[in-house]
């Protein structure tokens, strides 16, 4: 159904349930939907599983969500950064679960979920700690490991511009995980810098078609 244009970020994340899996876009701060995460903190949902490339930077956004004690588990490729002290503290204190997934596998598992595929045979991580216990097989002389879809109940993504239907365009490397996450969650919320009239975006340049977007909010 066509996207709803929300009045504010609180309306955009209303109804998020405890125990949800939330896909959060961004790579570092580029494309990171900080205002939506702030709204999710206000909204109060807890016991969350967060899927994002990193595990929070500094004290804002995802780091603030972690600091507020709302997150049971983080699925990400790279938690450890110079400014990931909030995650590091929780992890060392045994207060948060961590699943480390190679970055490309993280992206592809979400694409797989969005594309209705049951799983894929990946050459990434074969023979490493990160695929221990996963099924392997040889195909055409090469070893692969079975990777399964990764779905979200909610995706929070940052885009550049939306039209009123919910079509999205991004800006530079802030595109990163947004288009993939938009395909992989039951409810997709996009924050954008600007909402334009339907017909104002060039149809050749739409990166995330409105079919994937449930709610849009300008920030």
């Amino acid at each position: 159904m066509t996207a709803v244009i929300c009045r504010d970020t609180d309306e955009a994340v209303a109804g998020t349930e405890d125990g949800s899996t939330v896909l959060i876009g961004g790579f570092g701060m580029a494309g990171m939907p900080v205002p939506l995460i702030d709204a999710l903190i206000r909204q109060g949902a807890t016991d969350l599983t967060i899927v994002s490339n990193n595990a929070g930077n500094g004290d804002t956004g995802l780091a603030a969500l972690l600091a507020a004690g709302r997150v049971r588990k983080v699925v990400c490729s790279f938690p450890r950064q110079s400014d990931s002290w909030v995650f590091d503290g929780l992890y060392r204190a045994g207060k948060i679960e961590l699943e480390v997934v190679p970055q490309g596998t993280l992206a592809e598992r979400m694409r797989t979920a969005g594309a209705g595929i049951g799983g894929f045979w990946s050459p990434t991580g074969v023979g490493t700690l990160l695929t221990e216990g996963k099924e392997t097989r040889e195909i055409d002389g090469r070893q692969y490991v079975l990777e399964l879809p990764l779905r979200g109940d909610l995706a929070l993504i940052g885009a550049h511009r939306a039209d009123r239907m919910g079509n999205l365009v991004y800006r530079k490397t802030a595109r990163n995980f947004g288009p993939v996450m938009a395909t992989a969650a039951t409810t997709v919320v996009a924050q954008v810098n600007e909402i334009v009239e339907t017909g104002q975006l060039d149809p050749e340049t739409v990166v995330t078609p409105a079919i994937y977007v449930d709610k849009v909010v300008a920030v």
């Binding site: 159904m1 969005g114 239907m165 149809p203 050749e204 079919i211």
Partner: protein
Amino acid sequence: MTAQQIDPAGAPMTADHPLDKNELAALIARDIPAGAYVNLGIGQPTLVAEHLDPTAGVVLHTENGMLNMGPAAVGDQIDPDLTNAGKIPVTELPGAAYFHHADSFAMMRGGHLDVCVLGAFQVSTTGDLANWHTGAPDAIPAVGGAMDLAIGAKQVFVVMTLFAKDGTPKLVPQCTYPLTGIGCVHRVYTDHAVFDLGPDGARIRETFGSTAAELVARIEAGTPARTT
């Protein structure tokens, strides 16, 4: 076919005559929710587009890589780079988006379309679909996107005549034509009735020109005895 497989209980007769193709298309259009993302396949299902309320914001998908497809192109609108899945020149509406085939079929397979409407040779009472191949030994098989649509859309509607030209029912206990998908059809719109299908069999929603009991009798009379 047994009574358990087509349940006529309570189905009203809502028209006093069998529906023609346009009446059926209008009926389907009425049942598509406002704002839905819809694929209308090829051929007869595309008639539905002409009956959609333009203010309802239904968005048409064409599997060759477009959302917000507009009506058929005429005159100067014709652009060889802009066609529908039947290769007929079409137009674009505001809010359109183009994407490549892998993305288009990821959209279909991934369950993002609300409704698709397909034609069929046969549908089983439990929702199996046969619409790609007659099984005739000299037929050249050709499937296109039928199998992806059949298993991908949230709601799969079929539009077909209830009886073949020789009088045999096309809603059957088990398809004899090669299958397109298993248990994938949710609803069948025919000239004589609309059926909801599910794992427990068919239920008649409404009939046109016959009572439900008359129809069931006619279907049973035309259905060969089951060989199982």
